[in-house]
Amino acid sequence: MRHKKIMIDEVMNLLKLEHVSKVYKGGKKAVDDVTLSFNKGEFIAFIGTSGSGKTTTMRMINRMIEPTSGKITLDGEDLSQKDPVHLRRGIGYVIQQIGLLPHLTIRDNIVLVPKLLKWPDEKRQEIAKNLIELVDLPEEFLDRYPGELSGGQQQRIGVVRALAADQDIILMDEPFGALDPITRDSLQDLVKDLQQRLGKTIIFVTHDMDEAIKLADRIVIMREGKVVQFDTPENILREPADKFVEEFIGEDRLLQARPNVTTVEQIMLKTPVSISPAKSLNEAIKLMRDKRVDTLLVVDDAGFLKGFIDVESIDYNKNKATSVADIMNKQVFFVRKDSLIRDTVQRILKRGIKNVPVVDENSKLVGIVTRTSLVDMVYDSIWGDDSEDESDAAEVHSTTTEKVE
């Protein structure tokens, strides 16, 4: 089997398109001299109006469409020299219409590519179990048929199917376009999380600017077969290349551009009140009184966030429990320090939580966001920012929220 596992340098370009064009019969240029290069582990979003060539460009990467001219290289190897069938088995593929095979069980659908690659049966069983767990669906679903699942559940399967053979690159063609907003939101979170956790390179086609900004590390904006702008969401929002891009982004987003790209880290309080799980309840109460707070975050010695305790639970369990670990609530909602405020704010406000701990990429506690500072951010984005320094703002509100209510 000609299926080589490729070792590459982190900084080297994984995928390169050089002067790639696609001309259909009758002279219609779908893709016009596109040159792009993507790094390993990047989340790339192609965005553009319909007919802009974004899907065509993506489909040339797994040779579902052959370029008329130009060269595409993967790890320095010319795609046109590779066997298309083997190439496609190494590239995950997710489409808007989901495309689960209706006559196969969910299990057989998930491990379809491993089966094509003739991986042993035990290994396939294991993959199916691991992957269904990864997307938070019960294991019983493995024996069901796609028709018995909801659209959102089916697309979760569609996403993990693209991971089953440990593909490094995953192509996604408007995968969430047909889903309702709530389901779409949760699937976006899932894909972003998988990409960050597993280090996958994702090439994602969408026509939804919000989706592109939320997910992508870099965005390719296309129009009439040409690349208009290729940059990070922040830079595109800050400096749109031309009028077309400006219109495409929309006035609203440009106005909100500043708060849009603020990360949680920039507004969080860097000194959250925390306690170790081994401490006694009396110590916890004393700490609460000293710091004038009603909730303590529980953090182990290494700095990992374990849960939280609040005044009510201490009061309720005063006679039964002795240590913080006994009564701590492990169901703690937290955010990553590098997530964008615009994604986070609604979730926090909707849940009605007063404080949200902030963790770094290793799940270590680094700060806390208070509800008041978020509300302030929302006001800023509506009525503009009166040159108030963010850290000052956070400081001022911190005192109000930390009071025991």
């Binding site: 190494g90 489409i95 989901i98 095979l101 590519v113 199917r161």
Partner: protein, 211 residues
């Protein structure tokens, strides 16, 4: 009735056997030729209309004429009868296979190809299983045609239940005519029923539960 069975019972069994023999091989040949051809045609859409048109034209040639035409080429007996009936089974099987495979959701074909299936794997693992109900109903239709028309094979000396009917017609004996016609009808219905069960068994589970 009882008297008829006493007189012709053993002969009836032989004739039913001959009838089934001719029909079975004609249909088998039809399936073996028309199913792969139908699948192949989905890859060449331009050739498809030609071949299906050709099969439709063959269908319109009167069956007696086809049987008669077989005589100078293949002589008389069971073999030319099988060939002639095979021609009749072609159209329903070919057309249903072609349409069934062609109408499989293009998104599923795209997904199958995009995941790295070879053309053969796409056909065997995706297209044929999903088109199976349509292909099977073509085969059922072909089977009923073949069993009904196998009656005429008696004219070129192939035997079968047609012998009873034509003897009855020649001798003005109604019991012989009915003794041939009723078993033919029953055979056709039984075959259709059995193939119907097979169709359900071969259909994808998700389609089965909807019925």
């Amino acid at each position: 009735m009882i008297q008829f069975l006493q007189t012709y019972g053993s002969e009836l069994m032989v004739k039913i056997g001959e009838h089934l023999y001719i029909s079975f091989f004609a249909l088998l040949l039809g399936v073996v030729v028309a199913v792969p051809l139908g699948i192949l045609l989905t890859r060449f859409h331009k050739a498809a209309s030609f071949f299906i048109g050709l099969a439709s034209i063959l269908q319109t040639v009167p069956s007696l004429a086809i049987l008669a035409l077989m005589i100078p080429v293949l002589g008389i007996g069971k073999f030319p009868a099988i060939v002639a009936l095979f021609v009749y089974s072609l159209l329903p099987i070919l057309r249903n296979t072609y349409l069934g495979v062609k109408n499989v959701d293009p998104n599923l074909k795209d997904a199958a190809k995009g995941m790295g299936m070879t053309t053969m794997q796409q056909i065997i693992m995706v297209e044929v299983p999903l088109a199976m109900p349509v292909i099977m109903s073509g085969i059922r239709l072909g089977a009923v045609y073949v069993i009904a028309w196998a009656t005429l094979a008696s004219y070129i000396g192939a035997g079968g239940l047609g012998d009873f009917i034509f003897n009855g017609l020649n001798l003005y004996q109604t019991d012989l005519i009915l003794g041939g016609a009723i078993p033919v009808t029953l055979l056709a219905m039984l075959t259709d029923f059995l193939l119907g069960i097979l169709e359900t068994k071969l259909s994808p589970v998700f389609l089965r539960t909807e019925k």
